[in-house]
Symmetry: C2
Subunit: 384 residues, 2 copies
């Protein structure tokens, strides 16, 4: 296995981006990443474009994006695993490099969701559940994750207040992130009294439809020292899947099998344990997801994720700082861009470039990217 490092990162502001097309947001993130790596498009040997389908009329987005980014005639294609598209795309790019096919690969994740109405987005999202047996009966993402929340509350006594603590933390850090969609603090009271979406999930328990792009430049150990003095190495990768249909999953719905599998693989490859992680980005599409992720990743025992949140152990200074860029809840969740954005945050932390949200002395970081109703998961472990 050839070693692979992240040598460049870029991201647009997340939020409503009616000012720019998908090509333009992809270019914005790509330009920032190649400038960060001090490379030109001609030096990018291949691109992996990551996005979820059906939000755009444009099919086969790798084609338009590679053209607009000046990446022809190099290889390009699209990797899709709904919300985990770019986490999985990073693993794919890693394999293209580690195998020896390429030395420098760009991973471009993007999504534009706000041109669709909220109900159109829910319909599209629902169809990432099974269209034969589930989505025709009206299942939506908040509905699916509300079932997980109710199951977790029922089994472990997790409370709405535990959930609200996650939202308050992530909005706290979103307020410090100039690229976040929501840059404002919220109180526990505001979170607990926000309008109901799918009980027990309320407005601040849910991420919002967003637009944005994030890009990473990956390079092999054979060229990395020519590019940067501060490579951030990919030390561990894991990827897992769960049955798409909730009716096929193990009961109770209090853990994501795909995440447990992905974490196991990534920790083994990186030869580390959960306690070794200094800073983590986990997929908080809903507050309950972050709590379950703590447990699936081994940051808390099963059933104790809510307590970890309420005790503020996932703030900077706590046991394991999580989502100190605002997470999906406050930073935004432009689906295909989330995995690459998470890794960008970890890279900035490990470089010591995270400014007022820097976790002092962070040496090992982890990014956890969940897809759909928890049917895909990619876990990436990075080190200095």
């Amino acid at each position: 296995m050839r070693k692979v490092a992240v040598v460049g990162v870029g991201q647009t502001k997340f939020g409503e981006r009616s000012d720019a097309s998908i090509k333009e947001i992809a270019f914005e993130a790509f330009r920032e990443a190649i400038e960060d790596a001090r490379l030109t498009p001609k030096e990018i040997e291949a691109s992996v474009v990551c996005t979820a389908s059906h939000y755009d009329k444009q099919r086969s987005p790798a084609g338009v994006i590679a053209e607009y980014l000046g990446l022809n005639p190099q290889p390009t294609f699209t990797v899709e695993a709904v919300c985990a598209s770019s986490g999985v795309g990073v693993r794919t790019a890693w394999a293209l490099i580690s195998s020896g096919l390429h030395d420098v690969v760009a991973v471009v994740g993007f999504q534009k969701m706000t041109e669709l109405s909220a109900s159109e987005v829910q319909e599209v999202m629902g169809r990432s559940g099974d269209v034969q047996w589930e989505s025709p009966f009206g299942t939506t993402m908040p509905g699916y994750f509300a079932m997980y929340a109710n199951a977790h509350m029922n089994k472990y006594g997790t409370t709405e207040e535990n959930l609200a603590h996650v939202a308050v933390k992530n909005y706290h850090y979103g307020a410090k992130n100039p690229k976040a969609m929501f840059q404002k603090e919220i109180t526990l009271e505001e979170a607990l009294t926000s309008r109901p979406i799918a009980s027990p999930l309320k407005r601040y328990d849910c991420c919002a439809n967003s637009d944005g792009a994030a890009c990473l430049i990956l390079a092999s150990d054979s060229v990395v020292r020519k590019i940067t003095d501060m490579p951030i190495w990919i030390a561990g990768l894991g990827c897992g899947s769960s049955p798409m249909m909730l009716t096929s999953r193990s009961l109770p719905l209090t853990s994501f099998g795909c995440a447990v599998e992905a974490a196991k693989q990534a920790y083994k490859m990186a030869k580390i344990e959960p306690k070794d992680v200094d800073v983590a980005e986990v997929h908080d599409c809903f507050t309950i997801t972050e709590i379950i992720n703590y447990e699936d990743l081994g940051f808390a025992k099963h059933g104790e994720g809510g307590k970890l949140a309420s005790e503020k152990q996932t703030y900077i200074g706590g046991k394991i700082p999580v989502n100190v860029d605002g997470g999906l809840l406050a930073k935004g969740h432009p689906i295909g861009a989330t995995g690459t954005s998470q890794i960008r945050t970890i890279v900035q932390q490990l470089r010591g470039e995270a400014g007022q949200t820097q976790v002092a002395g962070a040496k090992i970081g982890l990014a956890h990217n969940l897809g759909g109703i928890g049917m895909y998961c990619a876990v990436t472990i990075l080190t200095v």
Copy 2:
């Protein structure tokens, strides 16, 4: 680079498959492939699902298919490059194995197109062109490729009869393939007088909307001998891209830049020349495409592809037998399944299992899979 071999192949019949869902056709191809490799689903360490989007309501098909095939909790995701999805998917699976992440990976290509009307399919296909500057003005796939045909005729004197010879050959071989959509011979006269689609392309110059799936099982050199005595090795891989917009391409439109790039990479990696290839599958979505492919792959000089066809040098016994399974024209072109189906045909040829269409003594085979309006290409070279 660890060596990777194809150890199992499977394919559904191509054509109209209103009897089966996408999960069911994927399972049909997968079951045949794992039976061919004498493996069980538990031994498949990851799956790469290949398909073009927007033909189904079902989003994120890797999720439903991995579940239906019994492949949880192993990694799975979708690779998309429109018509080249599964050619590119094979390269991706190769990298997952060669890098050392996995030893045994399934590549499942599929598409169901016939539930849409012909005009709906044209609208969907058009959107794999640029939706900002091209598809809103009514461009369709036959229209795009007719421009290539007219340019080739204008520059090189290629004739409608040259094109018709390609159709006659591919229907000749399709008639011998029990899994082909069209199992009937046609005459040169029938091809030349078939109804106009987009001048100069007529009915028999065009492939048809089809349903189907094809699956390959790939394995690393470290496990291959435990699985089979007859591995077919992946000796060369290439992948290239061209600008999506025709207006951004080099004029005249007589060659696909992405294919020239992919072929160059694959020949170099396999350390062979075009003359070393014993049997080839090339992407004949239209007859003109096959003629241009001969030239882009180095089987004929530029401008002499039409002559190669008319002189019957691409029949068995000729200089280089091409599409002896009927090609896309007669076998059918269920978009996401085409790349894996082409490689299945080459594997059968190199194993000596191709029956009445066997190319005697074939040792080196090549598969050429083009995406969209020639904006992606994957070339795979296989050897005994």
